[in-house]
C-alpha cells in the first residue's frame, strides 16, 4: 500500500519561497517508490472562507459547494497532510486561513456529533507537516500562525506529537530561500523522516 501524501501549497504567489520549501520536501519523499503525492496550489483550489453558519454541527457537512467538496474527502483519505504558508501580517495568509476555517466541518463531526474522522484501523497513523516562510527575521514571527495550524490538525485527528514543523524566517523576495544555508537540506531530511515514520505506522497494524 503506497503512502498517500496530500500537500497544500498555500501561498498566493506561485513558486515562491514557501512553495520551494514544499517542493524540496516533496521531491525527497518522491524518491521512495511507495509514495503517491498530490500537490494542490491553493490559488487553484477554489476554497471559500467559512461563513460561520454552524450548519455543519447538524448536517455533518458544509452547506457551501466548492473545491472543499473534493479536498474534504482527500483530507480523510491521505496518510500525511502537508500545509505550507507564507507569513503575511504575522499570521497565515488568508487563503490558508480559509482552508483551516473550513475544517470546521471536521470539528463538528469530532466534537459535536462525536463521529470518527478516520476508520479505527487508521487512527493514530496519520501525520501532519507544516512548512512556513517569513520575510521578517524575528524568531517569534511564526508564533501566531501555529495555534491555527494545530487546530486544523487536531480536528482531522492528527495530534500535536504527530505534527512536524519547518519554518524559515528572513526570506522575503522570490527565490531568497535558495540562498538559505540549511532550508533545503532540512526540508529533504524532514521528507525522509516523515516517510520512514509513516511506513512504520502503516506496516505496524493497530497502533494507539
Amino acid at each position: 500500500m503506497p503512502v498517500k501524501i496530500l500537500a497544500f501549497a498555500g501561498s498566493p504567489r506561485r513558486f515562491g519561497n514557501s512553495e520551494t520549501l514544499l517542493d524540496w520536501m516533496l521531491a525527497s519523499m518522491a524518491e521512495d517508490p511507495d509514495v503517491t503525492i498530490e500537490k494542490v496550489p491553493i490559488t487553484e483550489a477554489n476554497i471559500n472562507p467559512c461563513r460561520g453558519c454552524n450548519a455543519c454541527e447538524k448536517l455533518n457537512k458544509c452547506i457551501q459547494r466548492d473545491g472543499m467538496d473534493i479536498w474534504h474527502d482527500k483530507i480523510v483519505e491521505a496518510d500525511c497532510i502537508v500545509l505550507s504558508s507564507p507569513i503575511f501580517c504575522m499570521g497565515l495568509c488568508s487563503q490558508v486561513k480559509a482552508l483551516v476555517d473550513r475544517a470546521q466541518v471536521f470539528r463538528s463531526r469530532k466534537y459535536v456529533l462525536k463521529l470518527p474522522i478516520v476508520p479505527p484501523e487508521r487512527k493514530g497513523k496519520r501525520l501532519g507537516v507544516f512548512l512556513a516562510t517569513a520575510g521578517q527575521t524575528w524568531p517569534h514571527v511564526f508564533d501566531a500562525a501555529v495555534p491555527s495550524v494545530k487546530c486544523f490538525y487536531h480536528v482531522i485527528d492528527i495530534k500535536d506529537a504527530d505534527i512536524s514543523y519547518l519554518m524559515v524566517n528572513g526570506v522575503d523576495e522570490k527565490g531568497a530561500i535558495e540562498h538559505h544555508p540549511t532550508a533545503r537540506s532540512d526540508a529533504e531530511k524532514l521528507g525522509k523522516m516523515v516517510i520512514g515514520e509513516e511506513k512504520k505506522r502503516l506496516g505496524a497494524g493497530i497502533q494507539a
Partner: protein, 201 residues
C-alpha cells in the same frame, strides 16, 4: 470638530456575537457625539492579497476592488474599531484577507518611505479590537492580536484597547454575558471623549 469612528465587522455571520459587541461600542461612541459608520466586510467586494509585491515598487495595489477605498476611510477616521470572532484560534479568513491587503501601505512606509505617521498623529488616532470566542480558554485571543497590531501600526493608529469576551458557547450568546456589552458601550463613549480632549488641547 466631530470625532469620526469607523467600525469594521469581519464576521461572516451577520448580527452575531461579535457584530453585536461592535454595535455596542459604536452606540457608546455615538452617545458621546461621534460621527459613526460601520462597514461589514462580507458585503464588501475584495479579494485576498496575491503576494505579488508589485506595491513594493509603486506603493499601489494592482488589485482593483473595494479594499483600497476602505483603507482610505480607515486613514481618514479618528478611531477604528475592528471586529472579528475567533475561528480556529485566529481572526476570520475574511478579515485576514482584508488586513493582508494593507501591504501597499507597508511598502509606502518601509520601502518607499512616502508614508509616515508622527507621534502626534498616532496619539490622536485610536485603534480598538473587538472579538468574541466560543471557547473558554483565556488565551484564545492571543494569536489574533499580532495581525491587528500589524494593521494599526501600518495605518497610524494607537492600538489602545481590546474588548473581548470568551466562553460564548456557555453563555449562549453575547446578550447573556454579564459585562461585555456594557463594557464595550462605556469604552466607545470614553475613547471619543478622550480623543476630543486630545484634539482640543
Amino acid at each position: 470638530m466631530t470625532i469620526t469612528v469607523l467600525g469594521i465587522s469581519g464576521s461572516p455571520h451577520r448580527h452575531g456575537n461579535t457584530e453585536t459587541l461592535l454595535d455596542s461600542f459604536l452606540d457608546g461612541a455615538r452617545a458621546a457625539g461621534a460621527s459613526v459608520e460601520k462597514v461589514v466586510l462580507v458585503d464588501l467586494d475584495y479579494t485576498p492579497c496575491r503576494g505579488c509585491n508589485a506595491c513594493h515598487k509603486t506603493g499601489e495595489c494592482i488589485v482593483k476592488d473595494e479594499a483600497p477605498a476602505l483603507y482610505d476611510r480607515i486613514l481618514a477616521a479618528d478611531c477604528v474599531a475592528i471586529a472579528s470572532p475567533i475561528y480556529s484560534m485566529g481572526i476570520t479568513a475574511q478579515l485576514k484577507g482584508f488586513i493582508d491587503r494593507a501591504q501597499y501601505l507597508w511598502a509606502r512606509k518601509f520601502i518607499l518611505k512616502t508614508l509616515d505617521f508622527s507621534p502626534e498623529h498616532i496619539k490622536k488616532h485610536r485603534g480598538v479590537f473587538i472579538s468574541t470566542a466560543g471557547q473558554d480558554l483565556a488565551h484564545v485571543f492571543d494569536n489574533a492580536f499580532p495581525a491587528i497590531s500589524a494593521l494599526f501600526h501600518g495605518t497610524g493608529f494607537d492600538y489602545s484597547d481590546n474588548i473581548v469576551a470568551n466562553n460564548m458557547d456557555r453563555y449562549n450568546g453575547i446578550k447573556n454575558h454579564p459585562t461585555a456589552l456594557k463594557e464595550a458601550y462605556m469604552k466607545g463613549r470614553q475613547i471619543v471623549q478622550e480623543l476630543e480632549t486630545i484634539k482640543n488641547t
